[in-house]
């Protein structure tokens, strides 16, 4: 059973990211709140409840029909937002361009993936991806629970909800989980000083918010503009077009 058989585009319901409501916080050891979009309602069992599971690792040939829209408990229509990978990259760029003044707060409070996808007309179809994770040694049901698709499953059979996914990741990536719990690994935003009366909150992303679970390598990015530095010789030195030079027009 080689991995190449799995390296096919398969539509995964994996990280069901839903809802634009309040984030569910999961307290970590050190007063840091884990802010995550992963919470609430998972639609997997809407279909899988009636299906028989074939536990044999194989290529998933059939189209995976999923609802692109659903209605939450408050009667609001929501998109099913997939495509973390594309979202992550663009989200960063969207955030980086708009940080001054009041918008600075947006550094602390991340835009939600859902907002992002709605703004950019992205649908689940934009998020067809490949199971790269594991280098051929994993397949869907190694992490997704066979009987209850709304849950993840640990090696010892314990079930986890999607917002506890770091514990699943930590089964293979122990040192990373340990560092993450210490705040060394992963992204933290907000306050360094958690004792502040005003605010004093720190937000930490879950593993899957930076690492697409099915293709976890951190994506390559286009860097923002670099400095204008190189000067090829005195003859071509920068006049008037660099940080160090005055405008040509006289006062």
């Amino acid at each position: 059973m080689t991995f190449s058989r799995f390296v096919r585009p398969i539509l995964i319901l994996g990280t069901c990211v839903l809802g634009a409501g309040a984030a569910s916080g999961q307290a970590v050891a050190d007063r840091v709140e884990v802010l995550t979009d992963i919470h609430g309602y998972f639609p997997c069992m809407d279909c899988h409840a009636d299906q028989e599971t074939n536990p044999t690792p194989r290529i998933l040939e059939e189209e995976h029909e999923i609802p692109l829209e659903w209605t939450d408990d408050d009667g609001v229509t929501q998109l099913v937002p997939f495509g973390r990978r594309v979202a992550l990259v663009d989200l960063l760029d969207a955030g980086a361009g708009d940080l001054a003044g009041d918008n600075m707060q947006r550094i602390g409070v991340r835009l939600s993936i859902t907002d992002y996808m709605q703004e950019n007309d992205l649908t689940a179809a934009d998020s067809v991806w490949t199971l790269v994770h594991g280098g051929g040694n994993l397949w869907c049901l190694d992490c997704h629970n066979t009987d209850d698709r709304d849950k993840l499953v640990k090696l010892n059979g314990d079930l986890l909800t999607f917002n506890q996914s770091q514990l699943l990741c930590g089964e293979c990536h122990g040192p990373e989980l340990r560092d993450w719990e210490r705040g060394i690994h992963g992204t933290t935003t907000g306050y360094w000083d958690l004792a502040r009366d005003a605010g004093g909150e720190s937000f930490r992303k879950l593993c899957v918010e930076c690492h697409t679970p099915h293709d976890p390598a951190f994506p390559s990015l286009t860097p923002l503009a670099g400095p204008i530095t190189r000067v090829d010789g005195p003859g071509e030195r920068r006049t008037g077009d660099t940080a160090g030079h005055a405008t040509e027009e006289e006062h």
Partner: protein, 307 residues
Amino acid sequence: MSGGSRIRPGDVKRRGFLKLLTALTAGAVTAPADAEAFDLDAFLQKHFHQMSDDEKRRTLQRLEQDYNDKYERDDFTVVADGPTPGVKFAYALNLSKCIGCRRCVHACVQENNQHRGREERGDQVEYIRVLEMEKGSLDLEKAVHDYDHEVPAEDKYYMPVQCHHCNAAPCVKACPVEATWQEPDGIVVVDYNWCIGCRYCAAACPYWARKFNWIEPRLPADEINPDTHYLGNRPRYKGVMEKCTFCINRVRKGLNPACHDICPTGSRKFGNLLDKDSVIRRIIDHKRIYILKEEVGTDPSFYYFFD
């Protein structure tokens, strides 16, 4: 230093006289009026350490008014939040994680109201320089500064360098007028109203962290961050030195620096060195630390570490 001595536009005679007077008394060449309106209060402003609390308060008010006038806004705040006892800031950067995307560089420019340069991109004052390093070497001379390909590139790693807030800071020693100093919480700051622009500090810095305002800074009004600190991100003047302050306007309020929060890779870690539960202390305890140019003896508050 009374508020009444401020020169109003149109008060030409008095202004000319005062200019002459100050030029004579100080033997100075005052900047021409069309370059920067002369302001006697600003000219006579004392060193930050010499001001009484009352003088500080009035200076901050005057600056807020000046900035609001200059940039045609009404929301400038200039604070001078002091250090918190028991806090000593330190920064750690994970060389194994940084991918060189330069988001920190640009978030910093926006947060700290730097000179934007003439072009839209590139030629602005930047406190952070991201170096593209060759794997297998820590030789800065092999670093590429102006890479513009997808990152991370093969066989490269990335090393952002900014002010290291040294505890034995060569720049502080260099300054002939004590316009730059290290605060009790470890932040090395500049009093932009005291700096004489001799640039000896820039020559002294082993990290190339100090940036000079060679011309009147260009700062579009709509790109301004109006929440400013006297020793930090308030708009600067032509002819003065500036530098990273760990975003003093943010960190003194308990927030992380802008470069820290924008980092998509979580390479940047910030905290209180004196708090043994802080992430900084955990990194020092559990990770291997590299101090850039440790042999120079600057004792920086900025650590690089590896996974």
